[in-house]
Symmetry: C2
DNA sequence: CACCACGATGACAGCGCTGTCATGGTTCGA
DNA sequence: TCGAACCATGACAGCGCTGTCATCGTGGTG
């Protein structure tokens, strides 16, 4: 009924409880032969360490925190899934924590969160992971963390991270639009305080440059990662004297807003205007037409980050790792209408 | 630095640790005067019980589990928010757990989850809360739980619950459509194994009956709570010889699918066909046109359920409580076109 | 060969709390 | 008036684990 304890395993393996503890925690100084005996006993008894006891006794609770501040439900859920799967696998607990990344006392809020539950460390997702002052403070508090950032390359700044090349994916999307024949491509930017949005903007600009298309200020519109800003931004673009023939939204929700704006104006997507998003959230699959976008496997990315964090906590050296989102072409992008038939509204 | 312990509080209040424990846990037998002294000390030291120690020592871990099996990200997130806010407030921990409600060993999976973390109890959300065989087993395992169910009235079945009157809300939505002048109203049903979907269907039928409109088999289509089924179902409805002038989707995602189907067929919503959803998820606000729907405050409902559960665990008697979703009218519903102009496609 | 360093292991205390039981004081009824 | 019943409180052990330190055996070194 009650699950096996360290002592049960120790008795069965003919060693002391402390030795079992050593094996379970992957400490070095155990003879391979002893280790084998212990592992066998662990398996036979289906032993699983009691997180409560571990936490009470040890220096930390063998539990990590997943910290997010994001309006995107699908994204958060995917991240939770990824973190949960890593934690389950490695016998760690998981605390999920929404937070306010703009709070001035962010680092202190997180510190309290960590101390209260004696957390072993944090996985910081964007945009929390981009508040560099807070990161410094967390490091000063000796709180281990792994962060997920938007960068083309390993930042090599001393903090472990998983980096996602948003620039590259935005570049690919823009190239896709250019290859379809679009020359006037609107860009709806998301969250100024998200580094990812700057990276995506960069990818967009670099693609234009490589195709010899001059960037135009009036085609780039600021906003937040929300539907309404996508809607408003797209309206502004479509009301221009010379409106864009394609719109690239900085994430799927923005793109969904743009799609709604186009439809509310009587335009047909993709015939009158092409629309692309970013993220491959269900949004992009569940609109009509479904959105061309960039697939980001948040679950896999966060699972990786979680494993890195737990390795760090265990004192292992870890290497930063990069991910590339991939282009997903769906029905919301098509070649522009020939000039003569442009701007015809239903 | 390190936070205060029971002993610190005890010393300050001039009592034993056990007495502080009694006060903190709301046990009866403490003199009001002593209680006051202790509470003052607790406040002064900003004492918060250590969940790890509590769990290790006590019969349970002062932590509850939130169990869900739902494809709807917004819904889950809202529920998490609600549970978190109650737990934070009451010094309980929270474990969030997706699960497979169709698993035959559901009760045993949950039991293992509870035992492994020594959870104090579970909040069961739909459809997990509707697997009555599993509920019986959980009760037999002596696992406390509070469930959220779809019912017009307190079920009085001995298990505590929060009940949501889906029937009533579906009735209101259908009446809204009838009052606009619709006579042929399609119904896209969601998840057969969700009791809520049966309740919503019931509300739909009862509204038709009260308006003297005969229900028609061919206008009610089965499916799951997913976009694709909404899309396919709506296509089937719109392809009928005499298609409906309004479609009621069993949740917002289904309705979004129906919306996409209508648009993909060249129909204009709401002029050619009205569409209503259920749930008030961002989906319903972020489509074009935004969806008429029924607002369900999942966060508030789950917060209430969580408080009930914790009260139960503390040995208090609790009363079941009901919630009514409310009708939200948006742009996706309008009077049907006059007969002569119907079925004109763009 | 004596000595030391080091690797492998175990004994033991204690993390912060609650459950159990004991204690002393008070109240109540016969 | 006395004992039973009861209330308020405290002493103490122990939940399952890890950190610290002690112990023992081994191999290398001068």
């Amino acid at each position: 009924m009650a699950s096996a304890t360290l002592d049960d395993v120790a008795t069965r393996a003919g060693v002391s409880a402390k030795t079992v503890s050593r094996v379970v925690n992957g400490e070095r100084s155990v003879r391979p032969e002893t280790r084998q005996r212990v592992l066998r006993a662990v398996e036979q008894l289906d032993y699983r360490p009691n997180l409560l006891a571990r936490g009470l006794s040890g220096a930390h609770a063998y539990t990590i925190g997943l910290v997010y501040d994001n309006p995107n439900a699908y994204y958060i859920l995917a991240m939770q899934q990824g973190a949960l799967s890593a934690c389950d696998d490695l016998n760690f607990g998981l605390q999920m924590r929404p937070c306010n990344s703009k709070a001035s006392a962010l680092a202190e809020d997180l510190r309290d969160f960590v101390h209260r539950s004696r957390l072993s460390g944090l996985v910081l997702t964007t945009p929390v992971s981009e508040r560099s002052a807070a990161l410094q403070r967390l490091a000063a508090y000796k709180i281990p963390f792994v962060r997920i950032v938007s960068a083309a390359r390993d930042p090599h700044d001393g903090f472990p991270c998983v980096y996602v090349d948003d620039r590259d994916a935005a570049y690919a999307i823009t190239i896709h639009l250019l290859q379809l024949g679009h020359q006037r491509i609107g860009f709806l930017r998301g969250g100024k305080h998200h580094h990812a949005s700057a990276e995506r903007l960069r990818g967009y600009k670099e693609a234009l440059r490589d195709y010899g298309v001059p960037p135009r200020k009036e085609l780039m519109i600021d906003g937040d990662y929300v539907f309404d800003d996508g809607f408003r931004g797209a309206r502004r673009l479509l009301d221009l004297a010379e409106p864009p023939t394609a719109i690239f939204g900085c994430n799927d929700e923005i793109a969904a807003g743009a799609l709604a704006a186009a439809q509310s104006t009587g335009l047909h997507v993709p015939y009158d205007v092409s629309i692309a998003g970013f993220e491959d959230s269900p949004f992009s699959r569940h609109s009509w037409p479904p959105l061309t976008t960039a697939r980001q496997r948040a679950d896999i990315i966060v699972e990786r980050a979680t494993r890195m964090l737990i390795a760090c906590i265990g004192g292992e050296d870890v290497e930063n790792e990069g991910f590339n989102p991939e282009l997903v072409v769906r029905g919301s992008t098509a070649p522009p209408r020939p000039k003569s038939r442009q701007r015809k509204r239903a």
